[in-house]
């Protein structure tokens, strides 16, 4: 057997793959955050709560309406996206003219309220959600036993990440979006309804979080605190990748998943801290993050 750093090769490859899978969640969540920050200048602390709502939405669709996993992959993000739009229109939009800090405090408060409400009704130990039948089971990929569902998560995440990046960077719609962030009055002068563009962007970012939530529902316990565990790491990912950089957050998300996975082999106790260690190092050497634009 090949040994790498005293660890059997197959085990190491397995850990790398698992790291990529976790990275898929980080990438999807941090991308939503990066889009919202890039376009709206809002540090969306409610992202974790919206991710949780996505998971709950798919649970509720199944429980109360009998709607299964695949339809809810589309429906849940739509529902939560609409919720995001309402949130943006009624509450968040009032803060655009103020400092970042206000948006951060507001969304943090919103997250606490949302989590509190869910906790009140559903408790904290979680709700069961089955892996859909077609994705049950696992495949032996030589060096490890890869659950089919995890493989699906990576594929789905990569597709969604690339599609989102392409929409924003390569389409006329994306160009309008980016232009609206750069110079809103000018874009408005061209007849574009900028406030609506911003609202839809927020809704889109929220839908991404909800999509990740639906993907997470069968593997993690569906509980009101599930977003909490991700949100700190995801913020670190956004900061490391460079605030507002979409490509940065995707690449960093996957990379940090891998780094975290490797830490779990060599020194598991540090696996929750290693991300922040990387953040400190990156910020000391590249204050704008790996992919951030220099001011």
């Amino acid at each position: 057997m090949i040994m790498i750093f005293g660890i059997p090769g197959p085990l190491l490859f397995g850990q790398l793959l698992l790291g990529l899978i976790n990275g898929a969640f980080y990438a999807m969540l941090s991308m939503g955050l990066a889009i919202i920050f890039g376009m709206l200048n809002i540090i969306n602390f409610a992202h974790g709560a919206l991710f949780m709502m996505g998971a709950f939405a798919s649970w509720m669709l199944l429980q109360y309406a009998g709607i299964g996993y695949f339809p809810s992959l589309i429906l849940a993000p739509l529902i939560i996206g609409v919720f995001g739009v309402i949130l943006e229109r009624t509450i968040i939009s009032r803060l655009y003219h103020l400092d970042h800090l206000y948006g951060l405090l507001l969304t943090f408060g919103l997250a606490l309220v949302i989590q509190g409400l869910f906790r009140n009704y559903y408790g904290s130990s979680g709700l069961p959600y089955r892996i859909p039948d077609v994705l049950q089971g696992a495949t032996d990929v030589g060096f490890m036993f890869l659950p089919n569902y995890r493989a699906w998560v990576v594929v789905a995440a990569v597709v969604v990440c690339v599609a989102t990046w392409a929409i924003i960077e390569k389409t006329p719609l994306g160009a309008t979006l980016r232009a609206a962030t750069e110079n809103a009055p000018l874009v408005q002068a061209f007849g574009v309804n900028v406030p609506r563009v911003i609202t839809l962007t927020y809704g889109g970012g929220v839908a991404l979080a909800a999509f990740a939530g639906v993907l997470a529902a069968p593997i993690y316990s569906v509980n009101p605190n599930m977003g909490d565990n991700f949100i700190n790491t995801v913020f670190a990912v956004v900061v490391i990748g460079g605030m507002g950089s979409i490509m940065g957050s995707i690449v960093t998300g996957f990379a940090l998943g891998v780094i975290e996975g490797l830490t779990k082999v060599f020194y598991p106790q540090a696996s929750a801290t290693v991300v922040f260690l990387v953040m400190v190092i990156v910020l000391l050497t590249l204050p704008h993050g790996l992919f951030g634009r220099r001011a």
């Binding site: 408790g123 130990s125 069961p128 593997i219 993690y220 316990s221 991700f230 082999v265 598991p268």
Partner: protein
């Protein structure tokens, strides 16, 4: 400020009335119970609001008002943070006059609070925390460990697994007081039975949701048993993911601390066939069913587990002792009240008859359960079938092995 005749009169009459008020308070002092637990985090359903419901049920069943007792129950959320719990406890004792501290899950928190209770000479009845150190190295004459502990879990679940041929173990451990203690206690049983420990992973608590890395390492160790030294949402997540990675095909999963509430969260589909230990189950006998029927209307979505039952039983026994001593006497010294509690026989609907040992260990029986298949479950929360029962006097660590410092000195 000018002093009018009216304020002067008012102040004078208030001053005159003060001694009267004090005199009345001295007549029937209020006994305050403080329920300190996790009201919002991973251990909210295993303790949380249902613990409070069960504590209040004890007040109702004892008939406090009919017996002329004045009991007040307050509660707070310790968020599983030892420093926060210590400051709440201090505030309760110093400012709010709390006499008895109840529940306190999360071993790190339970251990931190221990010294505060001792310093203030109050009563501390712990139902939620697991560490066997609470009646061992960290024991206190102000303390009773009511419901279960890591030693009892290790002996019951761990012992049964070893007997069934599980002689090599890999541990997945929450990296704090409770997880480490549970691993240590289980390891000693595994080794005593001639088994070996193939490896372990200690993961950061709280905040870990993905256990796949550790599960793959466990699988690579070729151990026969995966020992889960964690609790609550972590256990739920690790069992869910163990199944996903097909661990249940090559290894046996031992959930060393699992409650009926966790089985409810997982669903029978995923949890069927697991062995676990609790000292209480709602469907054990007529008395446990009667108890559950009394509390159920107040906590419909979260039926009582052993921690909740422990809160009921502990409160009821405390009230008996207070009525016996008289509230004024009971308020004076926590050590004396706890000593009296140890002498009075314990009996209630949840655990039947139990005794409290000198070191503060309440000797509840340990039931080994197997989780039913979905087809075997007849109704809501019908989850367990009983496999074995260890009587209370054999379930726990012998007094001599605990090294509790005050034993034999009193």
């Amino acid at each position: 400020m000018s002093i009018s005749r009216r304020t002067l009169l008012g102040t004078a009459s208030a001053a005159a009335a003060l001694p009267l008020v004090r005199a009345r308070a001295q007549g029937t002092p209020t006994i305050k119970i403080g329920v300190l637990n996790d009201m919002s985090g991973p251990y909210m359903n295993t303790g949380g609001p249902t613990s409070i419901v069960c504590c209040k049920q004890a007040l109702e069943d004892f008939g406090v008002s009919g017996k002329g007792l004045n009991i007040e129950v307050i509660n707070a959320d310790h968020q599983n943070k030892p420093d926060l719990a210590v400051s709440i406890a201090r505030q309760w004792f110093d400012r709010d006059g709390v006499d008895m501290l109840l529940d306190v899950p999360t071993s790190s928190v339970a251990l931190a609070v221990q010294s505060v209770v001792r310093e203030k000479n109050k009563v501390y009845l712990n139902s939620g925390a697991a560490s066997s150190d609470l009646t061992g190295k960290a024991c206190s004459p102000n303390f009773i460990h009511w419901t279960y502990d890591t030693y009892m879990l290790a002996k019951s679940t761990g012992g049964a697994m070893v007997k069934a041929g599980g002689d090599s173990w890999y541990f997945l451990t929450a990296d704090y007081a409770f997880g480490k203690q549970l691993q240590a206690d289980t390891t000693s049983f595994v080794q005593a039975a001639g088994g070996k420990v193939a490896g372990s992973s200690a993961y950061p608590f709280p905040g870990t949701t993905d256990f796949s890395s550790f599960l793959v390492q466990a699988q690579a160790s070729r151990a026969k048993v995966l020992g889960l030294c964690n609790a609550g949402a972590d256990t739920v997540n690790s069992i869910k993911q163990a199944r996903e990675f097909g661990i249940n095909q090559t290894m046996k999963v031992a959930a060393l601390l699992m409650f009926v509430t966790d089985v409810h969260a997982l669903g029978l589909d995923v949890s069927q066939g697991l062995n676990l230990t609790e000292s209480f189950y709602w469907d054990l006998n007529d008395r446990t069913r009667a108890f559950t029927n009394r509390v159920k209307p107040k906590t419909a979505n979260n039926w009582p587990n052993m921690v909740h039952a422990g809160c009921y039983s502990a409160t009821l026994h405390y009230l008996k002792t207070v009525a016996d001593m008289g509230p004024a006497e009971a308020k004076k010294s926590g050590v004396d009240t706890v000593a009296r509690m140890k002498r009075i026989p314990v009996e209630d609907d949840c655990f039947g008859k139990t005794t409290i040992r000198e070191d503060g260990r309440n000797l509840t029986p340990a039931f080994l359960f197997e989780v039913k298949k979905p087809s075997e479950s007849k109704g809501p929360w019908d989850y367990f079938k009983q496999v074995a029962m260890t009587p209370g006097d054999q379930a726990y660590r012998p007094l001599s092995e605990g090294h509790c410092e005050f034993i034999g000195k009193a």
